[in-house]
């Protein structure tokens, strides 16, 4: 690298953006440690003059809010969606990369088009299908479409990863007389760990943050997921802002943990979505 003088203009611009990104996060975090009346009196920008954890405890207390239940529901949905994706997408990508059949190629093209099917556009028929299947207001009815709509991106990302495996390795295993199945488990899966962690993170994010399918396909408190909980919270107790903010912080904690411990997979996943 050749040495250059620092770019002051860019530095200034980046600080402006930092302010815009940071402002609501600052308001949110400081408010969660204030009492409701304190927030109303001091306003959103003031530093808190008192410190309390009540807002978090209130949310975690099952007798006062259903947040524990919502958390559990979201967790169930997320684990199942990731499970379905992990079960179905790796064989699919393997076939796309290695199969010579035209049918597989067609399937790949359909998945690529599926990238742009907006889930909003099909909520009405989805509501119809899920109701007909007797899965309305049932977590299964949320899990299935969420997994289906996460699949195109996952297929694209994992196919990209599997393409990077050199043909020599396949040939070597073929010479040894390995079946496609053996090659899949012994060669392809171990060598696509990067892509696998990416699709896990991506589908988990989709499930954890999903809003529209749960909104349309569930209604009772027993099947409520965390995003719906936030929405309700806002419409019901419009004024308890600190409590609401604490709920937002709690809802993002698991993702924050993923960000801290699997940052690479998360970033790669999001970049993979953008595609090359």
């Amino acid at each position: 690298m050749i040495k250059r003088r620092p770019n002051y203009l860019a530095g200034f611009g980046s600080l402006v953006w930092l302010f815009l990104v940071g402002l609501p996060l600052y308001v949110m975090l400081t408010a969660t440690f204030q009492s409701r009346s304190g927030y109303a009196e001091n306003g959103p920008l003031a530093l808190p003059d008192s410190f309390t954890l009540d807002n978090y405890l209130k949310n975690l207390d099952n007798t006062e809010s259903g947040f524990g239940q919502y958390f559990l529901n979201t967790l169930i949905v997320t684990v199942c969606v990731v499970g379905i994706v992990l079960l179905l997408v790796p064989p699919l990508s393997y076939a796309i990369v290695r199969s010579r059949s035209r049918l597989t190629n067609t399937v790949f093209r359909i998945f690529l088009l599926g990238l742009a099917i907006p889930s909003q556009a099909v909520i009405v028929p989805m509501f119809y299908v899920i109701s007909k299947a007797g899965l309305y207001d049932n977590l299964v009815g949320v899990i299935l479409p969420t997994a289906a709509f996460a699949m195109p991106v996952c297929a694209l990302v994992l196919t990209g990863t599997m393409r990077d495996i050199t043909p020599d390795l396949y040939e070597a295993m073929t010479v040894d007389g390995a079946s496609p199945r053996r090659i899949f488990f012994r060669l392809v899966l171990p060598l696509s760990r990067g892509g696998m962690s990416t699709i896990v993170v991506f589908s988990a994010l989709q499930a954890w943050n999903g809003f529209l399918f749960p909104l349309v396909l569930t209604q009772s408190a027993e099947t409520k997921v965390i995003t719906l909980g936030l929405y309700d919270f806002q419409t019901e107790h419009g004024v308890d802002t600190p409590g609401l903010f604490a709920a937002v912080v709690l809802s993002m904690l698991p993702i924050l943990l993923v960000y801290l411990f699997a940052r690479r997979a998360l970033v790669q996943g999001l970049m993979g979505v953008g595609g090359k």
Partner: protein, 319 residues
């Protein structure tokens, strides 16, 4: 693998139909190490059931009258005729386009600049980039709920900064309500596009910059003559993502403005939701859904064409 060229296409088709493992041919080299299309079947069937079937149904339902309780009834083009005469529908399309165009116009230059800036390996850039990333960790719901509270006319920031926000009710007038929607979307999605550009900018060969510097080109010239042209593909993909995302914005509108004041921020995706789950006119809602699918598919086709995904098959040939 060398025998591939000798295999007539007809055999390949038969192979595909029979699940890709023709009996007795495993020793010839063509099929031995290659998975058949059966490997793709479970995912394809699952995707078909929960994404393609609804896609076909949305077209069928757009020709039906359905209240959500009784069985749908075929009514031909009634829903479509109704939509053509519906001023709110027309307005919603216009608003969708407006929000999308504003989103692209603001987010593209912003994320290119931030992305190219963040591509540098300086320590402070790495730290700031990590902070810029945080909005991506929040769900669209959380982002909207957060901004709704921050911009609350009575308890939010506008109440404290009257010099900037006037009477403080940003949600009461169309122009500022649209402004809020565009801003919040940009706040939420710029990090993603920044990330795309950061990756792309790092992939630009350093040799190009070295050559430009030897020729005496400054930072600005380097940006316009090397970086921007090299980012071309990323710009296309990122813009298409913005367009599809913009056309289908939903949570932001539902939580921040509820389509108001009046119907002044009722974009098509939100209007569809209202028609279905508030007015229980699922037929009309489906017709709007079909419109959304058509637009999105059209954009997706452009994406496949421009970004070269469709050519992947040919790059594999000869492996």
């Amino acid at each position: 693998m060398t025998t591939t060229s000798l295999t007539p296409p007809a055999t390949q088709r038969r192979q595909a139909a029979s699940g890709g493992r023709p009996p007795g041919r495993s020793g010839t080299g063509t099929g031995a190490s290659r998975p058949g299309s059966a490997w793709a079947a479970p995912a394809a069937v699952f995707f078909a059931l929960f994404a393609l079937v609804p896609l076909v149904l949305v077209a069928a339902l757009s020709l039906s009258s359905w209240d959500g309780l009784s069985e749908p009834e075929f009514v031909g083009l009634d829903n479509w005729k109704k939509l053509l005469d519906d001023p709110v529908m027309l307005k919603s399309l216009w608003l969708s386009v407006l929000l999308t165009v504003l989103g692209v116009a603001i987010q593209t230059p912003l994320s290119i600049l931030l992305g190219v800036w963040a591509a540098g390996h300086q320590r402070n850039r790495a730290v700031l980039s990590a902070i810029y990333f945080v909005p991506l960790l929040l769900s669209a719901t959380a982002v909207s709920v957060l901004w709704r509270a921050v911009l609350d006319p009575n308890f939010g920031v506008p109440a404290q900064a009257a010099w900037l926000f006037g009477d403080g009710n940003l949600f009461g007038v169309q122009s500022s309500a649209i402004g809020v929607l565009v801003f919040v979307s940009a706040w939420q999605f710029t990090p993603l596009h920044t990330l795309i550009y950061q990756g792309a900018a790092r992939a630009v060969p350093q040799v190009l910059y070295q050559a430009a510097r030897i020729d005496g080109a400054g930072t600005v010239r380097q940006f316009f003559h090397i970086t921007l042209p090299q980012l071309r593909n990323s710009i296309i993909t990122s813009m298409i993502l913005m367009v599809v995302g913009g056309l289908t914005t939903f949570e932001t509108v539902l939580i921040l403005t509820q389509g108001g004041p009046g119907t002044d921020t009722t974009i098509s995706a939100f209007y569809m939701y209202q028609q279905a789950f508030k007015s229980f006119d699922y037929g009309t809602a489906s017709a709007i859904g079909v419109l959304l699918v058509l637009v999105a598919t059209f954009i997706s086709l452009i994406m496949v064409r421009l970004s070269g995904y469709g050519k992947m098959r040919s790059t594999m040939e000869g492996l």
